[in-house]
Symmetry: C5
Subunit: 265 residues, 5 copies
């Protein structure tokens, strides 16, 4: 690429990506991210090698098409983005989509894959789950319930996100509700020391993919996250995890603009 062309591309990037205001409606978004009965999908993508054979300008235009699409869908669904490149095998970025219905998510992802950029994407993993009211927490001791309150000063953005899907063994589901509740109380107790530094969110996925749960974590302190997982491996409930990870998706939380810019350059 010649110098003049490079400058033109740089300007296009600035024009097309620079003014992104996203997402559109904070209130709906907040509801999607916090309410039960919402579908959460994790979609990891890899860019194929042909993408880089496009001219820089073609890439910039393709990226701006995706930008427009995201803005349009952000009226209805909440889309978050993660850079997996350099941390997770076979994936460059991941989208987390919260939507009132999976058909909305499908409409968005199908549109995304139909863009000029999308034709170069390979979808390497889709995981889907449903948010629910906490199942066991209502029976926990009051002190534990109190400890489980999210910290007041949780405003700051986290840096890292990890997704670990889990499949329980048949024994787990055969246990009666009280036994499971007791095991989950032990599990929760082990997690308490990390409540201030590791944010967790649980999705129920039985029937929607090959897992029973998707566990999602955000943290600034990866070593605390590691210690949390170690602590959870040591409680009895862990013996019932027939599959834990495979894949484990590790990435950094990034505005989609930053991620797309990597592919526009």
């Amino acid at each position: 690429m010649k110098a003049a062309s490079t400058m033109r591309v740089a300007m296009l990037v600035a024009l097309l990506l620079g003014a992104a205001v996203w997402p559109a409606r904070a209130a709906d978004r907040e509801a999607l991210l916090t309410q039960p009965g919402v579908y959460g999908s994790f979609a990891a993508f890899q860019m194929d090698h042909d993408w880089w054979d496009l001219t820089g300008e073609a890439r910039v235009i393709a990226v701006s098409e995706v930008k427009g699409l995201i803005e349009q869908f952000s009226q209805k669904i909440a889309i978050e983005s993660y850079l997996l490149r350099g941390l997770s095998d076979h994936a460059d970025f991941m989208l987390r989509v919260h939507a009132p219905a999976l058909s909305d998510t499908q409409q968005f992802l199908t549109s995304l894959l139909g863009t000029r950029l999308g034709r170069h994407l390979v979808a390497t993993s889709y995981l889907h789950g449903l948010t629910k009211q906490a199942v066991y927490a209502p029976g926990f001791p009051e002190q534990m319930k109190k400890a489980l309150q999210p910290p007041a000063n949780d405003a700051g953005a986290k840096s890292y996100a990890v997704v670990i899907p889990i499949r329980k063994d048949a024994e787990w589901w055969a246990l009666d509700q009280d036994t499971r509740a007791a095991l989950m109380q032990e599990h929760t107790q082990a997690a308490l020391p990390y409540i201030n530094t590791v944010k967790r969110k649980l999705y129920h996925s039985s029937g929607l993919d090959d897992f029973d749960f998707i566990t999602y974590f955000e943290t600034d302190k990866l070593d605390d996250f590691h210690s949390l997982i170690r602590a959870l491996e040591q409680v009895k409930e862990y013996r019932h995890d027939r599959r834990f990870g495979h894949p484990t998706l590790l990435g950094t939380i990034r505005p989609l603009d930053d991620i797309l810019e990597l592919f526009a350059r």
Copy 2:
């Protein structure tokens, strides 16, 4: 693509796809979809990346060729279509084919793969099964039998479909018929609360692929479907599922015209 060319493609799409009347003979179709002794095949396909290097017009012509083929075969076999893109890994759409013989299904799928569009399809999963009279239901209590009647107001189309293939362990098959019947009665009892919102169909596949059963679900309420699977995981029969899913195929029920249009654009 220039504007004139785009319009021409749009017109071609309208002409070729707009007037679809499918399937041809409702009565035969009804028999295929409801009778025992029918072969059901699930074929999931992915479009390769080269497809998008064709011109828009070439794609429209290729799509219309498939349309013609489907109409022709709909005299003999029942073909239903599902959009998997954006919901299932490594698959764009799925066909469910009901036919009196698997050789009919093969003839259709071979013809499909031989079309201009078919040369760009990668077949990612084939599952085959046979419909049978209910094996255990005849021995169930009368009340349960009555509860198992499909609801009168089941006319409406469902939105989502899920395919979960299952392989039982050797212990299961070694149980005597009465024990299996008792376990299946417990299984069925757990499923009853969802009978009005989740439609189920069972295919027997031992020997036809690497599974023993293909379980097929249709629903408008994915959360009910998820709760149904959770309920089924908690009965004793679930302990005998050596493989459950892998793959789990999740998609939306869509007319083939809609799906093909996605690939013609």
Copy 3:
């Protein structure tokens, strides 16, 4: 392709494929197909996508080269062909080769892969086994031996073929010969009702591939075949199958000319 060119291709197909006389020497062939001490190989192939970028004429010429090769080798080995396309994942057709030595089979398959068509083939599975005198049958009761005679009216060709490779667990091989013989008698008893409609052939493959046996089936009645497998899953010997299928190869028995024609068109 223009009309004139299409006609020329059609004529070439007629000339090159129309007059196939295959195989050459029925007597030797019969011996290969029925005697012990013969090597049976199952080779499943998939055509790559580049094949379809060749001109129709180039494809016809390439197909005729394969035809010649098959005729030449049919003096020494027995080659049978199956269409897997539309029924088995990741495979378009399968060859079953019976030869006095695996080096003969290798010479043939290497020659096949070296043809213009062969360069477009991807070999997706090779399974090899050895035919032997029946191991357990000599000790079976007379009545069972008599029942195991192939039916007199078995002249007709079958439509479907299924290949299921099997690996036994270590427990199986640790059983003494009498115990294994008793379990195989129970196995054989379960199979007897299907002796007239499902033809079976056994290959011993320990050491030649990752399996212990290759079980091969031919039938016109796929539902009987399915019932046979179900019956075999219910006997005690089945508990010793560490791997059963993976892959299960399902196809229709077809003259190679028919199969090649599909790829010449």
Copy 4:
């Protein structure tokens, strides 16, 4: 390539690679390589086949771009390189990166993948772990602690490196700390005879990838390393390794310049 062009490439290689001074700051580097609380990442890459379609000059320029990038990042992170080609499947080289934070490692690897050379790299495995103070060693007998001191004459560079990731079973984590400590003392005792010839380093990876530990080895005597692994397989702690290797990465320790030169030629 003509002779003149070949010479020009050779000169470019000499100019661009010949004067490499790497890494920049030995002190920081030493801290990263020896302190607890550091993130270690293992990234194995394969060069795609298209790379070789570039001209020799284009390859040399692409390689020099990577050289510059490495020098720039060596201010902040420690990067070591290994040639896996010819020893490990599906990988040509591996980088071991020590960084204070995984986001630094990601920034480097993302930059690497964004270079002209990086666009031809396929990332085949990423493994991540955290260095910690020894967990069990403080409770070992004094004599063992003394034996565990690294030998005084360990200055020399080693030739081979092996990476073996490990996942423990749930039983392991359910053992109490004292039992685990006793088992690790037996493990350590078995390893003592090899302390002078095989250098070991442990990374804790639970939650960061699909493993619990990454074990890293350097040696000049591969037969001693093999004997060490054999000895470790014979202690009771080994029964708790649910996964051991898969992948096992074996290579030789090489300056990145040497490795890149292989790809510039």
Copy 5:
């Protein structure tokens, strides 16, 4: 390719391959093939489809480059070649390399992959092991030791080679040395009947790849080899094989010239 060009290629093949004298120094080679403390590597390769797009002349030149390389390295390492094509999935040929150090093997394989032909090779499996003095044999009864002597008339070349890698379970390694010796004596007794027709060689690979052993077989009588494996499956030691094969590599022993000629044509 025109007739004149074809003739020219044929002449080039004759000139370049016809006069092969390989390997160079028989004495060193003999030591490498028979002494303990030698590294044996098994490298299986597949030719990519692009290879066949080269002109016949380019292929001949590329093949002759490999020929030269092999001659050069045969001073230091022993290289044997096997044709896997038509017998093993996903592999065209295999090299067995014996070298005093794995770094020599890597230097050779890296050079091979760097040739014009090598750029079209995909390395599908690398297995590495170390030869050792027999571990259990010294304690066997004298009669068995005598029976284990290789037959006097073993001069003749064998036709077939099979490679079966093995991973033992943790129980095996936890057995005491005497118990393992007794089990290996039973194993050896079962193998004795085949000592004249099946040549075996054992490589120890713990830590060097994902296996504990690589077992290598040569035979003219594949049915005897099959019977040997069957016999070995029936002894108690077999229960401790956690993985047996996967891959099983089956091929014919062929001079590299013959194999390369297949790819030059």
